[in-house]
Symmetry: C2
Subunit: 279 residues, 2 copies
């Protein structure tokens, strides 16, 4: 089938590669408002052609919306205005705002709200990765608001990508991702700024940074165009988690100030409980 | 040569494997106050025999002290009391306290203070990894306080392990590692506790946790027996960094509370500067 990918960056580009490799897409039209991304996506063979979104949507069976979430929220109602038989899928990191944006749209049921839980700290078409998504989860939100054939197509595609499906409503989704994704990005950005602010000897960081530092700070390379809208849209959930996180850091601070080894031991043992959840 | 490894866990065990693989050690004596570690290290072929530390030191050319740093601080003066020709090397994550502990010892110059910048979140002999240390940095502190032959042996061993050498004094070392290692562990422990405290649906974490969350939280699996003494010994430097980190998190909090997108954008762009330092 012909598939349109709107937003040819990390996620859209990686999806395009997988859809072609699996033989799901016979023709891929790329849409991107950044001309350099269009050129790059063509040059890398991620898309077969590029076009304006209207013409691309008209010619496609499936439209994948993979822009930053603020652009997706603005575009989706216009896309649904043009759609009849097509299926439209988004891959954004928040789900409530986009679902609300089309809740009363007469073509709402052609849209399937999803969030494949995969990403890296890089962006743009050159960040696209072959074999992404395998063994990861995809959230499908409010599937009862979508037509059965649309859900079936989307589920089949994600399964072929090697993903397992998780169902929840948009509100529930946004709360959970505040914990398992968004707060990690905030702490990583803040950690990078801490080190850049205080550690004047960048050579020392470069020389000494070992695996631990790199893994906690790597998300700080992530693209603001993607993350500012996520933090803004999910701000209430994130604020709730961030307040708790600052409170937890203050407990460590109090242990150090008061040289309270026993409580420090207890806090670390409690944190070790994450082993129950992450292998 | 015969080498004694005191503390047969993650670092000591990985060193033993490398020293044998490289043909540097002809015989390895393991010393560990935990009988289960001695048995495990023997069973895994990490050491050739186990012994009490006194007998082991007497029979060795090189003694590697790889216990938690509070035990190392207590043991080192006693080891130096018994030493004549032997070289003693430590691998601890702080350097000032251990250097101070033997500053006036008549055999101080047989000791070389080092910190190989490698580790994982696991512990015990079963955590030992073949091929660890390669392409990582080792800090050698205050090399002028050690005999030339001792420094030469230690440098040669680290080079054979595939590491590059960085020289600094103990005070400088402890400041830098607060930034590039210790704060990452604090934030990771605190992040684990945040999620365990607030996210009651552990299944949701398990299902949804993607690469980002796992990489920021994996250090939270680290062993308190190792980390409590590190945090306590380096508490002043860590408190300084931790205060800055909490201040940086508060800036993100203020952006969300005031819906200040422009400042959020600026904070993230600034954090992206970490790309200058980490490839």
């Amino acid at each position: 089938m012909t598939i349109t990918i709107i937003g040819t960056g990390l996620i859209g580009g990686s999806m395009a590669l997988a859809l072609r490799d699996l033989g799901i897409a016979s023709h891929i039209i790329g849409v991107d408002h950044t001309p350099a991304h269009c050129e790059k996506a063509l040059a890398l063979g991620i898309v077969d052609e590029t076009a304006g979104w209207e013409a691309a949507v008209d010619r496609s069976s499936l439209v994948i919306l993979a822009t930053p979430i603020n652009a997706a929220e603005a575009l989706l109602p216009m896309i649904l205005d043009r759609v009849d038989r097509q299926v439209v899928l988004d891959v954004g990191s928040t789900k409530k705002v986009i679902c609300d944006a089309v809740a009363d749209h007469p073509r709402r049921s052609r849209f399937v709200a999803t969030h494949p839980m995969w990403g890296t700290e890089y962006s743009g078409p050159e960040a696209a990765v072959r074999g992404a998504f395998v063994n990861k989860a995809t959230v499908i939100c409010s599937r009862n608001d979508s037509d059965a054939d649309a859900v079936e197509m989307v589920e089949s595609i994600y399964r072929q990508l090697g993903m397992h499906l998780v169902y929840m409503d948009a509100t529930e989704h946004d709360l959970h991702v505040a914990y398992v994704s968004h707060i990690s990005h905030i702490t990583s950005f803040a950690l990078a700024n801490t080190v850049l602010e205080k550690e004047r000897e960048e050579d020392a960081i470069f020389e000494l940074a070992s695996g631990g530092f790199e893994s906690t700070v790597r998300l700080a390379k992530s693209n603001p165009a993607m993350w500012v809208p996520i933090f803004m849209q999910n701000r209430e959930n994130i604020l709730d988690v961030l307040n708790e996180h600052i409170a937890q850091l203050r407990k460590f601070k109090a242990c150090l100030e008061k040289e309270n080894e026993a409580y420090l031991q207890e806090l670390i043992e409690k944190a070790n409980g994450i082993r129950r959840i992450l292998k």
